[in-house]
């Protein structure tokens, strides 16, 4: 089980010489738990900090505050020998499949490489594992003897999944894994991912801006805004009975087939500049429900009896969960 507690990461942006540099929080006080076999989706607009959260969870970035625990032990510093040992249990799949593979390496070699890096198995065992991984993602022997550019986008993304699963990771972070793929192929890759999870008890952090895909795979959804989680809960609740005004706007913005001229909640303005976050609730400048309190006082996450958390002064959550 992977868990992170109060993670924060900020960058210093140097200003002109007469001004002090500013601090920009990419991730601010984020706590997440990823139990085995579960998928948590992180959603939000670009710049909300969802990718950075994923990188922090894998130890690819070092947090300013907070920590990451894998099965009860703290994740060691990145680059250290202990961290490298753990890396095979944590894998990352990202958006552009072609960029994830070495263009001069055949697919089967690319899938075998992690086994060599982590010193797993004898050559015979490695060949078996590679074969099993390729079969699981539905690539033929002939396809796996080709180079990445000789395959279609969907096939390459499935090869990337095979490479990520060959070390049998406990946690897989998928950062917009479907956005480079066409709809008819998305479904193939998505089903592959679901199949892999079932087989390997793997936990998935699924980072995506596409709520339609999120609904297909996630057990829980966390909505990020300006580096913070503003709502989190079971998928069907968050997507069909959203509590936070921002989540409502996100859900309402999803295009729906056959819903011509439907009324939607259109958010005024653009996502705010993270280097100048608003006072109070970070969402209040775009919120139609904002009251005076929202401008001065940042709401903390409150959790409903059904396990849906929301950081909003105005949202009605019914009976609050007892802590």
């Amino acid at each position: 089980m992977l868990r992170c507690v109060n993670l924060s990461l900020s960058y210093r942006i140097p200003g002109p010489f007469w001004r002090k540099s500013t601090r920009v929080f990419a991730v601010n006080d984020v706590s997440i738990t990823l139990p085995p076999r579960q998928t948590l989706a992180l959603v939000g607009e670009s710049g909300s900090g969802k990718s950075t959260t994923g990188r922090l969870l894998l130890g690819l970035e070092t947090p300013d505050a907070g920590y990451v625990m894998l099965n009860g032990t703290r994740l060691p510093k990145p680059g250290t020998r202990r961290w490298q040992k753990l890396r095979k249990r944590l894998q990352l799949v990202y958006q552009s499949p072609l960029a994830a593979l070495d263009a001069r390496m055949k697919i089967s070699d690319a899938v075998r490489e992690p086994l060599a890096i982590h010193n797993i198995g004898t050559p015979q065992e490695r060949a078996l594992k590679v074969g099993a991984a390729l079969e699981a993602v539905g690539l033929t022997l002939e396809q796996s003897s080709r180079y990445p550019h000789e395959l279609s986008g969907g096939q390459v993304q499935r090869a990337v999944l095979a490479r990520a699963m060959v070390t049998e990771p406990e946690v897989m972070v998928c950062d917009e894994p479907m956005s480079a793929l066409d709809v008819s192929v998305q479904a193939q890759v998505m089903n592959t991912l679901l199949e892999m999870q079932k087989r390997m008890r793997m936990a998935i952090l699924f980072i995506s801006h596409d709520l339609r895909l999120v609904r297909q795979i996630a057990h829980e959804v966390a909505v990020m805004y300006l580096g913070r989680i503003v709502e989190q809960g079971p998928t069907e609740l968050v997507l069909h009975r959203p509590l936070h005004p921002y989540t409502r706007a996100l859900v309402s913005a999803v295009p729906v087939i056959g819903a011509r001229g439907q009324q939607r909640i259109v958010l005024a303005g653009d996502p705010p500049d993270p280097s100048r976050p608003p006072n109070g609730c970070p969402f209040h400048p775009r919120c139609s429900l904002a009251v005076d309190r929202c401008r001065v006082d940042r709401p903390a996450l409150r959790t409903s009896a059904e396990g849906q958390s929301v950081a909003c002064h105005v949202a009605e959550i019914g009976a609050e969960a007892s802590r």
Binding site: S184, P255, D270, P271
Partner: protein, 321 residues
């Protein structure tokens, strides 16, 4: 007089060929005044290439055959003089990535003024006023001040609004929007789609919305053309297409689509992949992926009318009526 029966734009048997590789094959369609047409297809389906070719924007490596007529006037492979009169003025286009389509060194106001001077010959006070009116119309608040901003000082969504304002500057009869919201966040996508829909209603111009997302076109367009491997394989009024898709590819696409509404159901993929343009099957281009394939599918399929405003390129549909 003839103008009344002529469609606004008619494309007949358009072929686009990149050195022997056909990106668009035998594409025919008509666009009426005030019509909103959605063109959907996956990457490589020819949805953008066909419209870029029609407007003479596809570059010199491509050869284009067939006919594209605006009010009966041939514009395919037309003289640069003719195209300059048409592009921007009568047919405007908005691209996917606004930030790279704008000049980074000129203010947004300057760029809109350039279009207004060129297409409508405005100058002086009317030029200023129209620039500010257009910026306000596309939803940029405080236009008098913001018109001096450079593209990098604006967000992606605002730059797409500027692109739309520039497209509107020539008061076009047709606006072609090629994946106008793909590079934008979903909340901004919703804003831009609403804006396009409102402006289309207000001005009565025809709108061609090219997108990979069926749901996006369904929210804006009256008619949808589905493209696959360089061909239109089905065209229908929006409501009919989604209520009763006819072509197996359209059906497959709808089944593969994840949805937010309705009961959760697994996404059903279409097996195989889109054929590469240089390995196109000789018969129906979808046949190798189609569960309904029969012998006649080995012959090329062309689009046939099956009902008013409905046509489909599938021999099974024709046989079964």
């Amino acid at each position: 007089m003839e103008d009344h029966v002529q469609p606004l734009l008619s494309i007949d048997n358009l072929h686009v060929d990149f050195g022997g590789v056909e990106a668009v094959r035998d594409l025919s369609l008509t666009l009426e005044r005030g019509q909103t047409l959605g063109v959907v297809g996956e990457s490589g389906s020819g949805k953008s290439a066909s419209w870029l070719a029609a407007l003479g924007l596809i570059g010199t490596q491509a050869s284009c055959y067939g006919s594209v007529r605006l009010h009966g006037m041939e514009i395919l492979n037309a003289d640069k003089r003719v195209l300059t009169q048409v592009r921007g003025r009568r047919i405007a286009i908005v691209f996917q990535d606004p930030t790279s389509a704008l000049n980074p060194l000129r203010s947004i106001g300057w760029q809109i003024k350039e279009a207004l001077r060129l297409h409508r010959g405005l100058s002086g006070r009317p030029l200023q006023q129209e620039t500010e009116r257009l910026l306000t119309r596309v939803g940029i608040a405080d236009a008098a001040r913001r018109k001096n901003a450079l593209p990098h000082e604006m967000s992606g969504g605002q730059n797409q609004r500027v692109m739309i304002a520039m497209a509107l500057a020539g008061e076009p009869e047709i606006l072609v929007a090629d994946e106008p919201t793909t590079a934008l966040d979903s909340t901004i996508q919703a804003q831009i789609l609403d804006l396009l829909r409102d402006i289309q209603r207000e001005t009565g111009m025809a709108l061609v919305l090219i997108s990979h997302d069926l749901a996006v076109v369904s929210e804006v367009c009256d008619q949808v053309a589905v493209m696959y491997a360089g061909q239109i394989i089905e065209s229908a009024p929006t409501a009919q297409l989604f209520a009763k898709p006819l072509h197996p590819y359209t059906k497959g696409l709808l089944a593969a689509q994840p949805t937010l509404d309705g009961p959760a159901r697994p996404m059903r993929p279409i097996r195989g992949t889109t054929p590469r343009p240089d390995e196109m099957p000789s018969g129906c281009s979808f046949a190798p992926r189609c569960d309904l394939m029969i012998t006649p599918c080995r012959r090329p399929q062309t689009l046939r009318h099956v009902a008013p405003s409905r046509s489909v390129a599938c021999v099974r549909v024709e046989m079964e009526g």
